[in-house]
Every structure is written in structure tokens, then in C-alpha cells.
């Protein structure tokens, strides 16, 4: 019996995994395990350096919740969650480079 405490993933297609299906885990598990530990260590590091409330770190924590919600299409849903949800072109550019997570523009300072 699985020890997993997260919601059950969607059922697999057949009772006996094919060789190709086994290869998905045989070749994929170790590199992905390493990436997951990197995520954990990054979150620990951000806390240790008191920068855990940076909007990108917060976005990463929120995105990670989708990994264990038991629903499919995690990659698509995480990408969508990290995306700018607005639809109108920007009046001015906020710089050449994107940041990886969306942050609403700060409201203009009210004139005194």
C-alpha cells in the first residue's frame, strides 16, 4: 500500500506498466527528485535570509500546492498561476526582462 499522504493521482491506464512507462520513472525519477530538493532548499534558504516574503518566493510556495492537489495538468496549471492574468496591452514597458511571477502594478501614489 502506498504511503503517500497526498491526494491520489489520476488512475494509470493499464494494470501492467509497459517498458516505456517504466522508463518514464527509471530515467526521470532521480533528476526530478534532485529538483524537488532544490525547491525545498531554496524555500529554506529564502527563510533563513529573511526574504521569504518576496513575491516570487511566495508565488513558488503557492504554485507548489498544485503539485499535491490530486488534479491532472499540473504543469499547465502552475504556468497559468504564475502568469499575468490581465488582458490589455501595457501603456509603458516596465523593463526588458520578465521576472517569472506576476505582481500587480503598484497603485500610483495619491497627490497630496
Amino acid at each position: 500500500m502506498s504511503k503517500s499522504r497526498t491526494k491520489k493521482p489520476s488512475p494509470t491506464r493499464g494494470p501492467v506498466p509497459t517498458a516505456a512507462a517504466r522508463a518514464v520513472v527509471d530515467h526521470g525519477f532521480i533528476p526530478v527528485r534532485a529538483k524537488l530538493i532544490e525547491v525545498a532548499a531554496f524555500l529554506d534558504r529564502a527563510e533563513r535570509h529573511a526574504i521569504a516574503d518576496d513575491f516570487r518566493v511566495a508565488a513558488l510556495r503557492d504554485a507548489a500546492e498544485l503539485l499535491v492537489d490530486g488534479k491532472p495538468e499540473r504543469a499547465r496549471r502552475i504556468l497559468e498561476q504564475l502568469s499575468d492574468p490581465t488582458t490589455e496591452p501595457e501603456a509603458v514597458s516596465s523593463g526588458k526582462a520578465a521576472l517569472g511571477a506576476w505582481r500587480p502594478a503598484a497603485p500610483a501614489t495619491a497627490k497630496k
Binding site: 509497459t18 517498458a19 516505456a20 522508463a23 518514464v24 530515467h27 526521470g28 495538468e73 504543469a75 499547465r76 504556468l79 497559468e80 504564475l82 502568469s83 499575468d84 492574468p85 490581465t86 488582458t87 496591452p89 501595457e90 501603456a91 509603458v92 514597458s93 516596465s94 523593463g95 526588458k96 526582462a97 520578465a98 521576472l99 517569472g100 511571477a101 506576476w102
Partner: protein, 272 residues
């Protein structure tokens, strides 16, 4: 194995990369115009770059027996100066008849601004007027979804644009299906830290099918791997996909799209 690298910024790569690509089975490389890492300051700066893409770089690639093709435009990152953009676009037709020029690209959006939209519209108009193929760059990271939607709406609303003659590049899991649903081609870019990895690229093929999709390394002066495309072939084979599947995605698909430009002629044919 044979493959086409449909998107590589070879002016910023070394000759070692050319040698490695040809050794890995590359039979053609296509180079869209892109940003130099700084904004070019004048029309003559762009003219020199287009000469590099249409004269010097094909000659450099030919030393490795590799056919080299190019796409011309002003990059979305340089779209904020509308006056310069207008002058550069007026100069581009000087180069459209060059023997290695396939079309207009990579145009698109970067930060989804109004000025970028204006310059994108002008590029699309230029391509339609001159009956050119179009290669579109979609924005990075959090800007990709919104930018892809803006680009799809703009292209779909232009009556002169034929979706089968347009490739929307750098798709990911949240954008690929909407690009294919509208009849466009989709490009998957294989990058070490952003865009897609080989396993994710093969996931997208398994979910969305292999029609109207190509893969590229988009290698440039940043973190990128000029051998990302052939490395993805290994991931396909590990998953149990056939050599024919690999050939379809890495060679026949880009060949089919690019052959819509009569200047795309290479020794290798889809029949093998």
C-alpha cells in the same frame, strides 16, 4: 539521425557548435533576427546585421557544409522607439530577395506593451504585402500567456494572414493547444532553465499530437544548448517512440513548414 535546427542564433555561437551540430545530424539551420543584448542605435546598425545574416553567416555555415537560412525583423525588445522601428521596417525589403531569407521573424511581443503591438502589426503588414512566412516569438515567463493571446487575436483578425504560414514559437503547456486550435504551427524551445525541457517537450507531443509542431534550441549568447534538439530525440526513443516518429518531428515537420518558402532547398528530402 537527421534533423533541422529551425531556430538558432548562430552569429553568437562558435565554430565548435557548427561542428557539433553537423556531427549530430543537423542538415539545415535557420536563424531569426534577434536582439543583440543591447539596443541597436541606427538603421545602418540593423543593415549591417542583416548583411551578416544574409552574407557572412551562410558562408561561415557553408564551411561545415550546413545550409543556413535567415529571417529578418526588428526584435520586439527594440520596439519602444517607434520612429527607428518605422525606418528599419522600411529598409527590410532591400533584403527580402536574398537567397537565404525565408520570411519575417522573430517578431512578436516581449513585455506586451502598446508600442510592441504597434510594431508587431507593422511587421505582419510587411509580411503580408511581400507574401512572406512569419515566425513569432512569444514573451517570456509570466508574460507568455497574455502575450500569446494578444498575438493570436492580432494575427487572426488580419485577413491577409494564413495560419498555416505562421509559426508561433516558444510555446509551453499553457499556450500550445490554443496556438494549434487556431491553425498555426507551434514551436517548442528547449532551454536549460526556462521554456521547455526535453521531457516536457515529449509530453506535449504525446498530449497534443505531432502535427504542426517543430522543436528548436533557440541557441544564442545566453544560457542555451545548440544540441538540445538531437538530445530530445533520445528522450523520445526512451519513451518508446519510433525512429520514424523522431524523423517526423525533427526533420519532416520543419521541412514541411519551411518548404512553403520556395527558397528553402536542401539536399535531404522528406522521403529520406
Amino acid at each position: 539521425m537527421r534533423y533541422i535546427e529551425p531556430h538558432g542564433h548562430m552569429v553568437s555561437r562558435t565554430t565548435d557548435d557548427y561542428q557539433a551540430m553537423v556531427t549530430a545530424g543537423c542538415v539545415a539551420v535557420c536563424e531569426p533576427a534577434f536582439w543583440a543584448g543591447f539596443d541597436r542605435g541606427s538603421v545602418s546598425g540593423f543593415r549591417d546585421y542583416y548583411r551578416q545574416l544574409t552574407e557572412y553567416e551562410p558562408a561561415r555555415a557553408a564551411k561545415f557544409l550546413l545550409p543556413h537560412f535567415s529571417w529578418l525583423c526588428l526584435n520586439p525588445k527594440e520596439s519602444e522607439d517607434l520612429a527607428l522601428a518605422r525606418d528599419v521596417l522600411a529598409m527590410i525589403p532591400e533584403f527580402l530577395d536574398r537567397p537565404n531569407v525565408l520570411g519575417i521573424g522573430e517578431i512578436g511581443l516581449n513585455r506586451n506593451t502598446r508600442n510592441e503591438m504597434t510594431v508587431l502589426e507593422r511587421h505582419v503588414e510587411l509580411a503580408v504585402q511581400h507574401d512572406q512566412l512569419i515566425l513569432v516569438h512569444t514573451p517570456h515567463l509570466e508574460d507568455k500567456l497574455k502575450g500569446t493571446n494578444l498575438i493570436l487575436d492580432l494575427l487572426s483578425s488580419h485577413r491577409g494572414v494564413k495560419p498555416e504560414r505562421v509559426i508561433i514559437d516558444h510555446v509551453e503547456e499553457h499556450t500550445i493547444q490554443r496556438v494549434l486550435d487556431r491553425g498555426f504551427w507551434a514551436g517548442i524551445t528547449l532551454y536549460p532553465d526556462s521554456k521547455s525541457s526535453p521531457p516536457r517537450a515529449v509530453d506535449m507531443l504525446e498530449i497534443c499530437g505531432r502535427e504542426r509542431i517543430w522543436m528548436n534550441s533557440a541557441c544564442d549568447w545566453g544560457v542555451s544548448d545548440p544540441l538540445a534538439v538531437p538530445k530530445t530525440a533520445l528522450e523520445m526513443r526512451r519513451r518508446g517512440h519510433s525512429a520514424d516518429f523522431v524523423d517526423a518531428v525533427l526533420f519532416r515537420n520543419p521541412h514541411r513548414f519551411l518548404s512553403q518558402c520556395p527558397k528553402f532547398k536542401i539536399a535531404e528530402s522528406p522521403a529520406g
